[in-house]
């Protein structure tokens, strides 16, 4: 049973729920419609947030989540197109801003008014290909493209600013011809405000920096790099749920996973 509960605590969950519920014109009936809005999860390791959301909004059967990591299905640690709603596979960082740029170029060519959203990790911004694509998207004036940076201030092992400092992210993208905004990525109201104005400026790609905390609301795991990719025991999950709703701090004893 622990396998089914193995989880990555995704700081983008609120963002993803907001996008699918409020922002994107995509639902289980228009998944093949060329006019739909697109969401690309470039930081593919946050895919559990998509699986859960997709089950809730009916892209996949809830039952199917039980196939997590099973060989009879495709619900593994990174996104792939065998799951309805996943637009493209990811896992290798620094790819989907380019792919989304291609989709955005085509939507412009076909004079569509749809939106193309791509979620990037802040650590992912280390990859040179992100900046290559940012340069190209700026040059091609893709104001139908919205990149969202999940600014959780951590990468796999360390705080971003202690390794390769990324700040100021906003100035960097603006210098590449983008228009940027920041918001609290855990607040539906703030997200709503950030996404209300679109495009932020005509003729410029949009960047939204969503400020998040990994493990937000769960003091026992918040800002603990060893607890974001973990197999929790059933008891721990029960206690974490209570903790989330104001219960006492969970004492975690399950083995930590060193994945990367």
């Amino acid at each position: 049973m622990e396998d089914a509960l193995s989880a990555r605590l995704c700081p983008v969950l609120i963002l993803i729920v907001y996008l699918y519920k409020e922002f994107l014109n995509v639902n289980k009936n228009n998944l093949k419609d060329p006019d739909r809005d697109y969401l690309f999860l470039s930081k593919g390791h946050d895919v559990p947030a998509l699986y859960g959301t997709f089950a809730e909004i009916g892209f996949i059967e809830k039952e199917r989540l039980k196939n997590h990591l099973k060989t009879n299905d495709f619900i593994y640690w990174h996104p792939n197109r065998n799951i309805p709603g996943i637009e493209f596979h990811s896992g290798s960082l620094g790819h989907l801003l380019s792919v989304a740029t291609g989709v955005a170029i085509d939507c412009k060519l076909r004079k569509q008014n749809n939106k193309i959203v791509v979620i990037l990790g802040d650590g992912e911004l280390d990859e040179g290909s992100v900046w290559e694509a940012a340069l190209v998207a700026g040059a091609k004036k893709l104001d139908n493209l919205i990149a969202v940076v999940d600014r959780n201030h951590f990468q796999a092992n360390i705080e971003t600013e202690k390794l390769i400092p990324l700040n100021p992210i906003s100035d960097k993208f603006e210098a590449f011809g983008w228009k940027t905004k920041s918001c609290d990525g855990h607040s539906f109201e703030e997200l709503e405000k950030a996404f209300s104005e679109f495009p932020i400026e005509t003729g410029k790609p949009n960047l939204i920096i969503a400020e998040t905390r990994r493990g937000k609301g769960l003091p026992s795991i918040e800002a603990r790099a060893d607890r974001w990719f973990a197999n929790f025991t059933n008891d721990e999950v029960e206690m974490l749920l209570k903790e989330l709703h104001g219960g006492k701090i969970t004492e975690l004893t399950s083995e930590t996973i060193v994945a990367r």
Binding site: F88, V99, D106
Partner: protein, 298 residues
């Protein structure tokens, strides 16, 4: 029709075709004015160009993406493998100045492992035409295939009238020979024709196979040559590892065939940068030198 004219024709008649480049316009210089927004130059960004091509393919397009072969296949390798290969998207990757065609550019520009690394990606096919005419004969079928392709662009003037009959996975069997069969792909085809003539003057019966597509490869043509000729020669402007010699070895091992094979390829070093004819002389790949090596085998 020229290469450009065929691309323009495809773009005009089929809305799926898009022409991309990472600022390498040698082969498509005149297209921007003629096809407007169906032409996309992403700048010197091989990775992004391949990612963009994948995005366009997701939208139903057939992107034809151009860059120098070494940077296309190596700088952008992981994008090709991950986005085009895993995605099995109909992206056509056109590598310019591959193999000896990089001439005097030096080792940075020498794509002489491109066939090896491209054929190693599941779903990705490889087309290595012998010369400009051979390329144009096969171009439409390759472009219209629903599968990804890597194309070794080759605008060398033809020395031989090629068969108009082109099929992906079928070699052009120029001749069959009892003594020796030269199997070749790409730009060295002309030298192979010359070597064949020299050897025939010396009384040998010489077969010549122009592979055209290296993946899928025409296994039957190679196996027939192995059975009917005393000696096989694999001839390529490529490292000896991973290219035609390796393909032949894999094929023979799988079919339990033992025979004499003389590989003529680049052995573990980059070639001397110079103009093509001088490269051929220096590295021993002229028709005459190839013929000598074959004649003196054993």
């Amino acid at each position: 029709m020229t290469y450009e004219e065929i691309l323009k024709d495809l773009v005009d008649k089929d809305e799926r075709f898009m022409i991309l480049t990472a600022e390498n316009r040698a082969a498509i210089r005149n297209l921007p004015d003629k096809i407007g927004d169906r032409f996309i130059d992403t700048g010197i960004t091989e990775q992004t160009m391949v990612g963009v091509a994948a995005g366009l393919a997701l939208r139903g397009r057939i992107p034809v993406a151009h860059a120098l072969a070494s940077f296309l296949t190596m700088r952008a390798f992981e994008f090709i493998r991950t986005d085009v290969g895993i995605g099995n998207l109909p992206v056509k990757l056109v590598g310019g100045f591959s193999g000896f065609l990089s001439e005097a550019n030096g080792p940075t520009h020498q794509a002489i492992e491109d066939v090896s690394i491209m054929r190693g990606i599941p779903n990705v096919n490889v087309f290595c035409p012998a010369d400009e005419e051979d390329m144009l004969i096969g171009l439409r079928k390759v472009m219209e295939s629903p599968e990804p392709f890597y194309i070794r662009y080759n605008n060398i003037k033809p020395v031989y009238k090629h068969s108009e009959k082109f099929e992906i996975g079928k070699a052009e069997v120029v001749s069959e020979g009892k003594d020796v069969t030269i199997i070749v792909y790409g730009v060295l085809f002309g030298q192979a024709v010359e070597a064949k003539e020299i050897l025939e003057k010396k009384g040998l019966s010489v077969g010549l196979i122009n592979l055209r597509t290296v993946k899928p490869v025409d296994e039957e043509a190679i196996l027939n040559a192995a059975v009917n000729s005393k000696l096989l020669v694999t001839l390529e402007d490529h490292f000896i590892t991973g290219g035609l010699y390796s393909i032949t070895a894999e094929l023979f091992l799988r079919n339990k065939i033992m025979c004499d094979v003389l590989p003529i390829a680049l052995k573990d070093s980059w070639f001397k940068p110079a103009l093509l004819q001088d490269v051929l002389e220096y590295e021993g790949f002229t028709g005459k030198k190839i013929a000598d090596r074959i004649f003196n085998y054993k």
